[in-house]
Protein backbone atom coordinates (compact mmCIF):
# COMPACT_ATOMS: atom_id res chain seq x y z
CA UNK A 1 0.00 0.00 0.00
CA UNK A 2 1.53 3.34 -0.95
CA UNK A 3 1.64 6.26 1.45
CA UNK A 4 -1.06 8.04 -0.51
CA UNK A 5 -3.57 5.37 0.45
CA UNK A 6 -2.97 5.50 4.17
CA UNK A 7 -3.18 7.95 7.05
CA UNK A 8 -0.36 7.80 9.61
CA UNK A 9 -1.79 7.81 13.14
CA UNK A 10 -0.73 6.87 16.65
CA UNK A 11 -2.73 4.35 18.65
CA UNK A 12 -2.26 3.87 22.37
CA UNK A 13 -3.68 1.38 24.83
CA UNK A 14 -3.97 1.91 28.58
CA UNK A 15 -5.49 0.41 31.70
CA UNK A 16 -4.50 -3.14 30.77
CA UNK A 17 -5.92 -3.18 27.21
CA UNK A 18 -2.36 -3.51 25.91
CA UNK A 19 -2.51 -7.13 27.12
CA UNK A 20 -4.89 -7.81 24.20
CA UNK A 21 -2.46 -6.15 21.77
CA UNK A 22 0.71 -8.18 22.30
CA UNK A 23 1.58 -6.12 25.40
CA UNK A 24 2.51 -3.19 23.20
CA UNK A 25 1.15 0.14 24.46
CA UNK A 26 1.86 2.30 21.43
CA UNK A 27 1.45 1.64 17.72
CA UNK A 28 2.36 3.93 14.83
CA UNK A 29 -0.12 2.75 12.29
CA UNK A 30 -0.84 3.43 8.65
CA UNK A 31 -4.64 3.32 8.46
CA UNK A 32 -6.23 2.82 5.01
CA UNK A 33 -7.54 6.13 3.78
CA UNK A 34 -10.95 4.72 2.84
CA UNK A 35 -13.06 2.07 4.53
CA UNK A 36 -14.50 -1.09 2.92
CA UNK A 37 -17.21 0.84 1.08
CA UNK A 38 -14.98 3.68 -0.04
CA UNK A 39 -16.02 6.15 2.64
CA UNK A 40 -13.36 8.19 4.46
CA UNK A 41 -11.90 6.20 7.36
CA UNK A 42 -13.62 6.99 10.64
CA UNK A 43 -13.12 5.68 14.17
CA UNK A 44 -15.66 2.88 13.66
CA UNK A 45 -13.51 1.63 10.76
CA UNK A 46 -10.36 2.06 12.83
CA UNK A 47 -11.85 -0.17 15.55
CA UNK A 48 -12.68 -2.88 12.98
CA UNK A 49 -9.23 -2.53 11.47
CA UNK A 50 -7.54 -2.93 14.86
CA UNK A 51 -9.69 -5.94 15.64
CA UNK A 52 -9.00 -7.69 12.33
CA UNK A 53 -5.41 -6.70 11.62
CA UNK A 54 -3.63 -5.73 14.80
CA UNK A 55 -5.21 -7.70 17.64
CA UNK A 56 -3.76 -11.19 17.91
CA UNK A 57 -5.62 -12.24 21.04
CA UNK A 58 -8.68 -14.29 20.08
CA UNK A 59 -10.77 -12.79 22.90
CA UNK A 60 -12.25 -10.10 20.62
CA UNK A 61 -15.19 -9.63 23.00
CA UNK A 62 -12.83 -7.97 25.47
CA UNK A 63 -12.37 -5.14 22.96
CA UNK A 64 -15.46 -5.02 20.75
CA UNK A 65 -19.10 -5.74 21.55
CA UNK A 66 -22.10 -5.28 19.23
CA UNK A 67 -19.95 -3.70 16.53
CA UNK A 68 -18.45 -1.01 18.73
CA UNK A 69 -15.93 -0.63 21.50
CA UNK A 70 -17.23 -2.53 24.53
CA UNK A 71 -18.61 -0.72 27.59
CA UNK A 72 -15.88 0.22 30.05
CA UNK A 73 -13.47 1.40 27.37
CA UNK A 74 -13.02 5.11 26.96
CA UNK A 75 -11.94 6.32 23.51
CA UNK A 76 -9.88 9.49 23.49
CA UNK A 77 -9.26 11.40 20.29
CA UNK A 78 -6.30 13.74 20.71
CA UNK A 79 -6.63 13.61 24.49
CA UNK A 80 -10.37 14.29 24.57
CA UNK A 81 -13.36 12.04 25.16
CA UNK A 82 -14.61 10.91 21.74
CA UNK A 83 -18.08 12.17 22.72
CA UNK A 84 -16.64 15.66 22.20
CA UNK A 85 -15.56 14.75 18.64
CA UNK A 86 -18.53 12.85 17.23
CA UNK A 87 -17.82 9.38 18.60
CA UNK A 88 -17.20 6.64 16.02
CA UNK A 89 -18.21 8.89 13.14
CA UNK A 90 -15.17 11.08 13.65
CA UNK A 91 -13.10 11.00 10.45
CA UNK A 92 -9.52 10.12 11.24
CA UNK A 93 -6.99 12.83 10.35
CA UNK A 94 -3.29 12.56 9.60
CA UNK A 95 -1.25 12.50 12.82
CA UNK A 96 -4.21 11.85 15.12
CA UNK A 97 -3.51 10.30 18.49
CA UNK A 98 -6.23 7.86 19.44
CA UNK A 99 -6.21 6.21 22.80
CA UNK A 100 -8.22 3.32 24.22
CA UNK A 101 -8.44 3.28 28.00
CA UNK A 102 -9.97 0.44 29.96
CA UNK A 103 -11.56 1.53 33.23
CA UNK A 104 -9.97 0.17 36.33
CA UNK A 105 -11.92 -0.89 39.36
CA UNK A 106 -9.32 -1.93 41.92
CA UNK A 107 -8.78 0.14 45.01
Amino acid sequence: MSNDDTIPITIEFSGGLEILFSNQKKYNLPLPFKDESGEPANVAFLVRHLCDNVMEDPRKELFVLDGTVRPGILVLINEADWELEGEDKYEVQKGDHIMFVSTLHGG
Partner: protein, 513 residues
Protein backbone atom coordinates in the same frame (compact mmCIF):
# COMPACT_ATOMS: atom_id res chain seq x y z
CA UNK B 1 5.81 -28.74 69.04
CA UNK B 2 8.64 -26.38 68.12
CA UNK B 3 6.36 -24.76 65.59
CA UNK B 4 3.68 -24.23 68.25
CA UNK B 5 6.16 -22.70 70.67
CA UNK B 6 7.57 -20.36 68.09
CA UNK B 7 4.10 -19.41 66.95
CA UNK B 8 3.07 -18.64 70.54
CA UNK B 9 6.22 -16.63 71.11
CA UNK B 10 5.49 -14.67 67.98
CA UNK B 11 1.91 -14.00 69.04
CA UNK B 12 3.03 -12.81 72.47
CA UNK B 13 5.55 -10.43 71.00
CA UNK B 14 2.93 -9.15 68.57
CA UNK B 15 0.52 -8.51 71.42
CA UNK B 16 3.24 -6.78 73.40
CA UNK B 17 3.95 -4.56 70.43
CA UNK B 18 0.27 -3.70 70.19
CA UNK B 19 0.13 -2.88 73.91
CA UNK B 20 3.20 -0.71 73.58
CA UNK B 21 1.62 1.06 70.63
CA UNK B 22 -1.62 1.63 72.55
CA UNK B 23 0.29 2.98 75.59
CA UNK B 24 2.05 5.48 73.34
CA UNK B 25 -1.25 6.53 71.86
CA UNK B 26 -2.78 6.92 75.32
CA UNK B 27 0.15 9.02 76.51
CA UNK B 28 -0.11 11.16 73.40
CA UNK B 29 -3.87 11.65 73.83
CA UNK B 30 -3.40 12.58 77.51
CA UNK B 31 -0.68 15.03 76.61
CA UNK B 32 -2.92 16.72 74.08
CA UNK B 33 -5.79 16.86 76.54
CA UNK B 34 -3.54 18.58 79.10
CA UNK B 35 -2.38 21.02 76.47
CA UNK B 36 -5.89 21.88 75.47
CA UNK B 37 -6.86 22.47 79.08
CA UNK B 38 -3.89 24.75 79.52
CA UNK B 39 -4.79 26.83 76.51
CA UNK B 40 -8.16 27.91 77.92
CA UNK B 41 -8.45 31.51 76.83
CA UNK B 42 -7.61 34.15 79.41
CA UNK B 43 -9.99 36.88 80.28
CA UNK B 44 -9.43 39.64 77.77
CA UNK B 45 -8.01 42.76 79.45
CA UNK B 46 -9.82 46.03 79.08
CA UNK B 47 -8.14 48.64 76.97
CA UNK B 48 -6.07 51.12 78.99
CA UNK B 49 -7.65 54.45 79.38
CA UNK B 50 -4.94 57.14 79.57
CA UNK B 51 -7.46 59.58 81.06
CA UNK B 52 -8.20 57.35 84.10
CA UNK B 53 -6.08 58.36 87.09
CA UNK B 54 -5.97 54.76 88.36
CA UNK B 55 -4.58 53.55 85.06
CA UNK B 56 -2.05 56.27 85.13
CA UNK B 57 -0.91 55.47 88.66
CA UNK B 58 -0.67 51.75 88.03
CA UNK B 59 1.29 52.21 84.84
CA UNK B 60 3.50 55.12 85.69
CA UNK B 61 3.02 56.32 89.26
CA UNK B 62 4.23 53.43 91.49
CA UNK B 63 7.67 51.95 92.12
CA UNK B 64 8.31 48.89 89.98
CA UNK B 65 8.73 46.47 92.95
CA UNK B 66 5.27 47.40 94.16
CA UNK B 67 3.90 46.82 90.67
CA UNK B 68 5.44 43.32 90.63
CA UNK B 69 3.77 42.46 93.93
CA UNK B 70 0.38 43.54 92.65
CA UNK B 71 0.76 41.47 89.49
CA UNK B 72 1.80 38.43 91.53
CA UNK B 73 -1.31 38.64 93.71
CA UNK B 74 -3.55 39.07 90.68
CA UNK B 75 -1.99 36.06 89.02
CA UNK B 76 -2.77 33.89 92.06
CA UNK B 77 -6.40 34.95 91.93
CA UNK B 78 -6.57 34.30 88.20
CA UNK B 79 -5.28 30.78 88.79
CA UNK B 80 -7.91 30.14 91.41
CA UNK B 81 -10.76 31.04 89.08
CA UNK B 82 -9.28 29.41 85.94
CA UNK B 83 -11.21 26.21 86.39
CA UNK B 84 -14.53 27.95 86.74
CA UNK B 85 -13.97 30.46 83.98
CA UNK B 86 -16.93 30.56 81.66
CA UNK B 87 -16.69 30.02 77.92
CA UNK B 88 -15.76 33.17 76.16
CA UNK B 89 -15.43 33.67 72.40
CA UNK B 90 -11.89 32.75 71.50
CA UNK B 91 -9.61 35.56 70.48
CA UNK B 92 -8.33 33.67 67.45
CA UNK B 93 -10.42 31.73 64.92
CA UNK B 94 -8.28 28.61 65.29
CA UNK B 95 -7.04 26.93 68.45
CA UNK B 96 -3.46 27.73 69.42
CA UNK B 97 -2.28 24.20 68.65
CA UNK B 98 -3.91 24.38 65.24
CA UNK B 99 -1.79 27.35 64.17
CA UNK B 100 1.26 25.29 64.94
CA UNK B 101 -0.01 22.00 63.51
CA UNK B 102 -1.27 23.44 60.21
CA UNK B 103 1.29 26.24 60.01
CA UNK B 104 3.02 24.90 56.90
CA UNK B 105 -0.20 24.85 54.88
CA UNK B 106 -1.70 27.96 56.55
CA UNK B 107 1.05 30.15 55.13
CA UNK B 108 0.19 29.06 51.59
CA UNK B 109 -2.08 31.38 49.62
CA UNK B 110 -3.97 28.31 48.31
CA UNK B 111 -5.13 27.57 51.87
CA UNK B 112 -4.62 30.48 54.24
CA UNK B 113 -6.81 31.08 57.28
CA UNK B 114 -10.07 31.01 55.31
CA UNK B 115 -9.13 27.74 53.60
CA UNK B 116 -8.22 26.15 56.92
CA UNK B 117 -11.52 27.25 58.42
CA UNK B 118 -13.36 25.71 55.46
CA UNK B 119 -11.45 22.45 55.98
CA UNK B 120 -12.29 22.55 59.69
CA UNK B 121 -15.97 22.90 58.87
CA UNK B 122 -15.93 20.18 56.20
CA UNK B 123 -17.41 16.72 56.62
CA UNK B 124 -15.88 14.14 54.29
CA UNK B 125 -16.93 10.56 53.67
CA UNK B 126 -14.38 7.98 52.57
CA UNK B 127 -16.04 4.86 51.15
CA UNK B 128 -13.58 1.96 51.23
CA UNK B 129 -10.66 1.91 53.67
CA UNK B 130 -8.19 -0.01 51.53
CA UNK B 131 -5.34 0.96 49.22
CA UNK B 132 -6.97 4.24 48.15
CA UNK B 133 -8.89 5.05 51.33
CA UNK B 134 -5.94 4.70 53.72
CA UNK B 135 -3.63 7.31 52.20
CA UNK B 136 -6.56 9.57 51.28
CA UNK B 137 -7.89 9.53 54.86
CA UNK B 138 -4.42 10.03 56.31
CA UNK B 139 -3.81 13.22 54.33
CA UNK B 140 -7.30 14.60 54.95
CA UNK B 141 -7.03 14.00 58.69
CA UNK B 142 -3.51 15.42 58.63
CA UNK B 143 -4.82 18.53 56.89
CA UNK B 144 -7.41 19.08 59.61
CA UNK B 145 -10.82 18.38 58.11
CA UNK B 146 -13.55 18.69 60.73
CA UNK B 147 -15.23 15.31 60.38
CA UNK B 148 -14.24 12.21 58.50
CA UNK B 149 -16.57 9.24 58.01
CA UNK B 150 -15.24 5.80 57.08
CA UNK B 151 -17.32 3.10 55.37
CA UNK B 152 -16.10 -0.49 55.06
CA UNK B 153 -17.21 -3.90 56.32
CA UNK B 154 -13.94 -5.70 55.66
CA UNK B 155 -11.33 -6.84 58.14
CA UNK B 156 -7.59 -6.26 57.85
CA UNK B 157 -5.67 -9.09 56.20
CA UNK B 158 -1.95 -9.60 56.00
CA UNK B 159 -2.03 -9.26 52.22
CA UNK B 160 -3.44 -5.71 52.61
CA UNK B 161 -0.49 -4.33 54.51
CA UNK B 162 1.87 -3.57 51.61
CA UNK B 163 -0.46 -0.80 50.46
CA UNK B 164 -3.10 -0.08 53.11
CA UNK B 165 -0.86 2.10 55.21
CA UNK B 166 -3.18 2.87 58.13
CA UNK B 167 -3.38 -0.77 59.18
CA UNK B 168 -0.69 -2.66 61.04
CA UNK B 169 0.54 -6.19 61.57
CA UNK B 170 -0.85 -6.19 65.09
CA UNK B 171 -4.30 -5.20 63.82
CA UNK B 172 -4.78 -8.03 61.34
CA UNK B 173 -8.31 -9.35 61.95
CA UNK B 174 -9.65 -6.02 63.24
CA UNK B 175 -12.23 -4.25 61.06
CA UNK B 176 -10.59 -1.86 58.63
CA UNK B 177 -12.67 1.03 59.95
CA UNK B 178 -11.57 0.47 63.57
CA UNK B 179 -7.97 -0.11 62.59
CA UNK B 180 -7.94 3.10 60.54
CA UNK B 181 -9.48 5.01 63.44
CA UNK B 182 -6.66 3.98 65.76
CA UNK B 183 -4.08 5.26 63.29
CA UNK B 184 -5.97 8.41 62.32
CA UNK B 185 -6.69 9.35 65.92
CA UNK B 186 -3.05 9.17 66.84
CA UNK B 187 -2.20 11.22 63.74
CA UNK B 188 -4.60 14.06 64.56
CA UNK B 189 -6.94 13.87 67.59
CA UNK B 190 -8.63 17.14 66.54
CA UNK B 191 -10.59 15.38 63.79
CA UNK B 192 -13.93 13.82 64.57
CA UNK B 193 -14.04 10.30 63.13
CA UNK B 194 -17.32 8.56 62.36
CA UNK B 195 -17.34 4.78 61.81
CA UNK B 196 -19.78 3.10 59.40
CA UNK B 197 -18.86 -0.57 59.74
CA UNK B 198 -21.11 -1.97 57.06
CA UNK B 199 -21.33 -2.53 53.37
CA UNK B 200 -22.87 0.34 51.42
CA UNK B 201 -26.21 -0.77 49.97
CA UNK B 202 -28.87 1.09 47.97
CA UNK B 203 -31.17 1.31 51.00
CA UNK B 204 -28.48 2.73 53.32
CA UNK B 205 -26.62 4.95 50.85
CA UNK B 206 -28.73 8.09 51.19
CA UNK B 207 -28.87 8.03 54.99
CA UNK B 208 -25.13 7.37 55.15
CA UNK B 209 -24.17 10.17 52.73
CA UNK B 210 -26.63 12.90 53.63
CA UNK B 211 -24.69 14.66 56.40
CA UNK B 212 -21.41 14.85 54.49
CA UNK B 213 -20.18 17.59 52.15
CA UNK B 214 -17.95 15.58 49.85
CA UNK B 215 -17.44 11.90 49.08
CA UNK B 216 -14.35 9.89 48.10
CA UNK B 217 -14.96 6.68 46.16
CA UNK B 218 -12.15 4.39 47.29
CA UNK B 219 -13.99 1.14 46.52
CA UNK B 220 -13.06 -1.65 44.14
CA UNK B 221 -16.14 -2.86 42.25
CA UNK B 222 -18.31 -1.44 39.45
CA UNK B 223 -21.50 -1.94 41.53
CA UNK B 224 -20.27 0.32 44.33
CA UNK B 225 -18.98 2.91 41.84
CA UNK B 226 -22.42 3.33 40.23
CA UNK B 227 -24.20 3.33 43.59
CA UNK B 228 -21.88 5.98 45.05
CA UNK B 229 -22.13 8.19 41.97
CA UNK B 230 -25.93 7.97 41.85
CA UNK B 231 -26.23 8.83 45.54
CA UNK B 232 -23.88 11.80 45.14
CA UNK B 233 -25.98 13.11 42.23
CA UNK B 234 -29.22 12.73 44.20
CA UNK B 235 -27.80 14.49 47.27
CA UNK B 236 -25.79 17.04 45.26
CA UNK B 237 -22.35 16.14 46.56
CA UNK B 238 -19.12 16.36 44.64
CA UNK B 239 -17.42 12.99 44.22
CA UNK B 240 -13.70 12.29 43.97
CA UNK B 241 -13.36 8.89 42.32
CA UNK B 242 -10.16 6.90 41.84
CA UNK B 243 -9.11 3.37 40.97
CA UNK B 244 -5.92 1.41 40.48
CA UNK B 245 -4.72 -1.93 39.19
CA UNK B 246 -1.24 -3.36 38.64
CA UNK B 247 0.79 -0.31 37.53
CA UNK B 248 -2.05 1.98 36.39
CA UNK B 249 -4.35 4.43 38.12
CA UNK B 250 -7.24 6.69 37.15
CA UNK B 251 -8.80 9.72 38.84
CA UNK B 252 -11.88 11.86 38.16
CA UNK B 253 -13.63 14.64 40.06
CA UNK B 254 -17.31 14.04 39.28
CA UNK B 255 -20.48 16.04 39.79
CA UNK B 256 -18.42 19.19 40.15
CA UNK B 257 -20.16 21.57 40.51
CA UNK B 258 -22.92 19.42 42.03
CA UNK B 259 -25.87 21.08 40.31
CA UNK B 260 -29.28 19.39 40.57
CA UNK B 261 -30.18 16.68 38.02
CA UNK B 262 -31.24 18.25 34.75
CA UNK B 263 -29.00 21.30 35.21
CA UNK B 264 -26.44 21.11 32.41
CA UNK B 265 -23.99 23.40 34.19
CA UNK B 266 -23.22 20.61 36.65
CA UNK B 267 -20.20 18.36 36.21
CA UNK B 268 -20.65 14.92 34.63
CA UNK B 269 -21.36 11.91 36.84
CA UNK B 270 -19.93 8.38 36.60
CA UNK B 271 -22.86 7.29 34.42
CA UNK B 272 -22.25 10.16 31.96
CA UNK B 273 -18.72 8.87 31.41
CA UNK B 274 -19.60 5.17 31.61
CA UNK B 275 -23.31 4.73 30.79
CA UNK B 276 -22.97 0.94 30.68
CA UNK B 277 -20.95 -1.23 33.05
CA UNK B 278 -18.08 -3.29 31.64
CA UNK B 279 -18.72 -6.99 30.98
CA UNK B 280 -18.00 -8.76 34.28
CA UNK B 281 -15.33 -11.02 32.74
CA UNK B 282 -13.29 -7.91 31.87
CA UNK B 283 -13.22 -6.70 35.49
CA UNK B 284 -9.99 -7.65 37.24
CA UNK B 285 -9.49 -7.22 40.99
CA UNK B 286 -6.25 -6.39 42.77
CA UNK B 287 -6.35 -9.89 44.25
CA UNK B 288 -6.25 -11.45 40.79
CA UNK B 289 -4.34 -8.87 38.77
CA UNK B 290 -1.97 -7.63 41.44
CA UNK B 291 -1.23 -4.09 42.57
CA UNK B 292 1.94 -2.16 43.31
CA UNK B 293 1.55 -0.37 46.68
CA UNK B 294 2.82 3.07 45.66
CA UNK B 295 0.62 3.06 42.55
CA UNK B 296 -2.61 2.87 44.52
CA UNK B 297 -1.01 5.12 47.15
CA UNK B 298 -0.39 7.85 44.56
CA UNK B 299 -4.03 7.68 43.48
CA UNK B 300 -5.35 7.87 47.06
CA UNK B 301 -3.13 10.86 47.80
CA UNK B 302 -4.37 12.58 44.63
CA UNK B 303 -7.93 12.04 45.88
CA UNK B 304 -7.05 13.82 49.13
CA UNK B 305 -5.46 16.61 47.10
CA UNK B 306 -8.49 17.06 44.85
CA UNK B 307 -10.76 17.02 47.90
CA UNK B 308 -8.68 19.73 49.58
CA UNK B 309 -8.79 21.78 46.36
CA UNK B 310 -12.58 21.53 46.15
CA UNK B 311 -13.08 22.26 49.86
CA UNK B 312 -10.79 25.26 50.11
CA UNK B 313 -11.95 27.08 47.01
CA UNK B 314 -13.66 30.39 47.68
CA UNK B 315 -17.44 30.13 47.18
CA UNK B 316 -17.29 33.07 44.77
CA UNK B 317 -14.88 31.25 42.44
CA UNK B 318 -17.26 30.39 39.63
CA UNK B 319 -14.70 28.80 37.34
CA UNK B 320 -14.50 25.11 38.14
CA UNK B 321 -11.87 23.22 36.15
CA UNK B 322 -13.39 21.48 33.10
CA UNK B 323 -14.01 17.77 33.76
CA UNK B 324 -10.93 15.66 33.22
CA UNK B 325 -9.55 12.20 33.77
CA UNK B 326 -6.05 11.78 35.10
CA UNK B 327 -4.27 8.68 33.88
CA UNK B 328 -1.28 7.40 35.82
CA UNK B 329 0.98 4.73 34.47
CA UNK B 330 3.99 3.86 36.58
CA UNK B 331 6.16 2.48 33.79
CA UNK B 332 5.28 5.00 31.08
CA UNK B 333 6.98 8.24 30.26
CA UNK B 334 5.44 10.64 31.15
CA UNK B 335 3.78 8.90 34.09
CA UNK B 336 0.85 11.31 34.22
CA UNK B 337 -1.51 12.59 31.61
CA UNK B 338 -4.76 14.41 31.74
CA UNK B 339 -7.53 14.01 29.18
CA UNK B 340 -10.65 16.09 28.70
CA UNK B 341 -13.94 14.44 29.62
CA UNK B 342 -17.39 15.14 28.24
CA UNK B 343 -19.92 17.34 30.01
CA UNK B 344 -23.18 16.00 31.44
CA UNK B 345 -24.86 13.57 29.07
CA UNK B 346 -28.23 14.73 27.79
CA UNK B 347 -29.75 11.31 28.38
CA UNK B 348 -27.89 10.33 31.53
CA UNK B 349 -29.94 7.98 33.72
CA UNK B 350 -28.79 9.79 36.86
CA UNK B 351 -28.04 13.47 36.28
CA UNK B 352 -30.14 14.52 33.28
CA UNK B 353 -33.68 15.88 33.10
CA UNK B 354 -34.73 12.35 32.08
CA UNK B 355 -33.13 10.65 35.07
CA UNK B 356 -34.61 7.34 36.16
CA UNK B 357 -32.39 7.21 39.22
CA UNK B 358 -34.48 8.78 41.99
CA UNK B 359 -34.31 8.61 45.78
CA UNK B 360 -37.47 6.49 45.76
CA UNK B 361 -36.05 4.06 43.20
CA UNK B 362 -32.85 3.81 45.20
CA UNK B 363 -34.47 3.23 48.57
CA UNK B 364 -37.17 0.88 47.32
CA UNK B 365 -34.51 -1.42 45.91
CA UNK B 366 -35.81 -1.24 42.35
CA UNK B 367 -32.32 -0.27 41.18
CA UNK B 368 -30.48 -3.57 41.24
CA UNK B 369 -26.81 -2.68 40.94
CA UNK B 370 -25.62 -6.26 41.14
CA UNK B 371 -27.84 -7.26 38.26
CA UNK B 372 -26.94 -4.08 36.32
CA UNK B 373 -23.25 -4.91 36.51
CA UNK B 374 -23.72 -8.65 36.15
CA UNK B 375 -21.44 -11.30 37.53
CA UNK B 376 -19.08 -13.80 36.00
CA UNK B 377 -20.90 -17.02 35.26
CA UNK B 378 -19.37 -19.56 37.57
CA UNK B 379 -17.74 -22.39 35.70
CA UNK B 380 -17.37 -24.55 38.78
CA UNK B 381 -19.35 -27.27 37.03
CA UNK B 382 -17.41 -27.09 33.82
CA UNK B 383 -15.91 -30.57 34.28
CA UNK B 384 -17.56 -33.86 35.15
CA UNK B 385 -16.74 -35.44 38.52
CA UNK B 386 -14.56 -38.13 36.93
CA UNK B 387 -12.47 -35.45 35.27
CA UNK B 388 -11.51 -34.04 38.64
CA UNK B 389 -9.44 -35.25 41.56
CA UNK B 390 -9.16 -33.95 45.10
CA UNK B 391 -5.81 -32.61 46.25
CA UNK B 392 -5.58 -35.39 48.85
CA UNK B 393 -6.15 -38.17 46.33
CA UNK B 394 -3.70 -36.57 43.95
CA UNK B 395 -1.11 -36.66 46.74
CA UNK B 396 -1.63 -40.44 46.98
CA UNK B 397 -1.04 -40.76 43.25
CA UNK B 398 2.29 -38.98 43.64
CA UNK B 399 3.60 -41.23 46.38
CA UNK B 400 1.50 -44.16 47.35
CA UNK B 401 0.66 -47.73 46.78
CA UNK B 402 -2.24 -48.54 44.50
CA UNK B 403 -4.71 -50.41 46.76
CA UNK B 404 -5.81 -52.56 43.80
CA UNK B 405 -2.57 -53.38 41.99
CA UNK B 406 0.00 -52.95 44.76
CA UNK B 407 2.21 -50.92 42.46
CA UNK B 408 4.04 -47.96 43.94
CA UNK B 409 3.27 -44.76 42.12
CA UNK B 410 5.49 -41.72 41.85
CA UNK B 411 5.40 -38.18 40.60
CA UNK B 412 6.80 -39.43 37.29
CA UNK B 413 3.80 -41.61 36.60
CA UNK B 414 2.00 -38.65 35.06
CA UNK B 415 2.48 -35.05 33.90
CA UNK B 416 1.42 -32.21 36.19
CA UNK B 417 0.67 -29.03 34.25
CA UNK B 418 0.52 -25.78 36.26
CA UNK B 419 -1.41 -23.14 34.31
CA UNK B 420 -0.70 -20.10 36.49
CA UNK B 421 1.22 -17.23 34.89
CA UNK B 422 4.98 -17.62 34.85
CA UNK B 423 5.64 -15.08 37.59
CA UNK B 424 3.33 -16.96 39.96
CA UNK B 425 4.77 -20.33 38.96
CA UNK B 426 8.21 -19.05 39.87
CA UNK B 427 6.99 -18.04 43.33
CA UNK B 428 6.22 -21.61 44.32
CA UNK B 429 5.21 -24.80 42.55
CA UNK B 430 4.71 -28.48 43.12
CA UNK B 431 7.89 -30.45 42.50
CA UNK B 432 8.03 -31.80 38.96
CA UNK B 433 5.22 -29.67 37.53
CA UNK B 434 5.56 -27.99 34.14
CA UNK B 435 4.32 -24.48 33.48
CA UNK B 436 1.94 -23.68 30.63
CA UNK B 437 0.58 -20.18 31.44
CA UNK B 438 -3.17 -19.73 31.03
CA UNK B 439 -2.58 -16.66 28.83
CA UNK B 440 -0.58 -18.83 26.42
CA UNK B 441 -3.46 -21.27 26.23
CA UNK B 442 -6.13 -18.62 25.72
CA UNK B 443 -4.09 -16.56 23.22
CA UNK B 444 -3.39 -19.62 21.10
CA UNK B 445 -3.32 -19.09 17.36
CA UNK B 446 -3.97 -22.20 15.31
CA UNK B 447 -3.79 -25.71 16.69
CA UNK B 448 -0.15 -26.53 17.25
CA UNK B 449 1.81 -24.62 19.88
CA UNK B 450 5.05 -25.76 21.40
CA UNK B 451 3.37 -26.89 24.62
CA UNK B 452 0.84 -28.96 22.66
CA UNK B 453 3.63 -30.66 20.71
CA UNK B 454 5.48 -31.46 23.95
CA UNK B 455 2.40 -32.97 25.57
CA UNK B 456 1.66 -35.05 22.46
CA UNK B 457 5.05 -36.77 22.77
CA UNK B 458 3.95 -38.63 25.89
CA UNK B 459 1.05 -40.92 26.75
CA UNK B 460 1.20 -40.34 30.50
CA UNK B 461 -1.97 -39.05 32.17
CA UNK B 462 -2.18 -35.28 32.56
CA UNK B 463 -3.25 -33.45 35.71
CA UNK B 464 -3.85 -29.72 35.47
CA UNK B 465 -3.55 -27.38 38.44
CA UNK B 466 -4.02 -23.63 38.94
CA UNK B 467 -4.39 -21.25 41.89
CA UNK B 468 -8.02 -21.90 42.78
CA UNK B 469 -9.31 -24.56 40.40
CA UNK B 470 -11.11 -22.48 37.75
CA UNK B 471 -8.58 -21.94 34.95
CA UNK B 472 -7.49 -25.56 35.27
CA UNK B 473 -10.94 -26.72 34.15
CA UNK B 474 -10.88 -24.46 31.10
CA UNK B 475 -7.49 -25.86 30.14
CA UNK B 476 -8.61 -29.49 30.57
CA UNK B 477 -11.47 -28.77 28.14
CA UNK B 478 -9.08 -27.13 25.71
CA UNK B 479 -6.66 -30.06 25.86
CA UNK B 480 -9.47 -32.47 25.06
CA UNK B 481 -10.57 -30.29 22.15
CA UNK B 482 -7.04 -30.48 20.83
CA UNK B 483 -7.24 -34.27 21.02
CA UNK B 484 -4.52 -34.63 23.62
CA UNK B 485 -6.65 -37.29 25.35
CA UNK B 486 -6.22 -39.65 22.37
CA UNK B 487 -9.95 -40.05 21.97
CA UNK B 488 -10.49 -40.76 25.66
CA UNK B 489 -7.67 -43.31 26.04
CA UNK B 490 -5.44 -40.89 27.95
CA UNK B 491 -6.65 -39.45 31.27
CA UNK B 492 -6.79 -35.66 31.53
CA UNK B 493 -8.25 -34.03 34.62
CA UNK B 494 -7.75 -31.17 37.06
CA UNK B 495 -7.05 -30.85 40.76
CA UNK B 496 -10.20 -29.62 42.45
CA UNK B 497 -9.65 -26.39 44.37
CA UNK B 498 -6.17 -25.91 42.89
CA UNK B 499 -3.14 -25.04 44.95
CA UNK B 500 -5.29 -23.60 47.70
CA UNK B 501 -6.76 -27.06 48.31
CA UNK B 502 -3.26 -28.52 48.02
CA UNK B 503 -2.07 -26.26 50.82
CA UNK B 504 -5.15 -26.86 52.98
CA UNK B 505 -5.22 -30.62 52.79
CA UNK B 506 -1.75 -31.81 51.77
CA UNK B 507 1.16 -29.41 52.17
CA UNK B 508 0.63 -26.76 54.88
CA UNK B 509 4.07 -25.36 54.13
CA UNK B 510 3.08 -24.46 50.59
CA UNK B 511 3.13 -20.63 50.44
CA UNK B 512 -0.12 -18.69 50.36
CA UNK B 513 0.00 -15.45 48.41
Amino acid sequence: MAAVISSLRKQISTCEATLEDLRHQLAEAERIQRQQQKSVPQKRPLATDPASPLDHDMNFGVPDDFRSEIFAVLKQEAKAVEGTESEEPSRWPLEKNEYKRYGRQLIMPEVGLQGQLRLKKARILVVGVGGLGCPAAAYLVGAGVGTLGLVDDDVVEESNLHRQILHSTARVGMTKVQSAMVALNSLNPNVKLLPHISRLTPDTAISTFKDYDLVLDCTDTPTSRYLISDTCVLLRKTLVSASALRIDGQLMVLNNPPSPPGDTTGGPCYRCVFPKPPPPESVVSCGDGGILGPVVGVMGILQALEAIKVLTQTPAASSVDPPSLILFSAYSNPMFRSVRLRNRKAKCAACSAHATVTPEALESGSLDYVQFCGSVVSNNDALLPDERISAQNYAHIRSGVNPFTGTVSSKDSHILVDVREKVQFELCNIDGSVNVPFSTVSNMQGDENDWVTQLRKSEKPIFVVCRLGNDSQVVVKKMKQLGLDAGGKRYIGDIRGGLRAWRQSVDVEFPEY
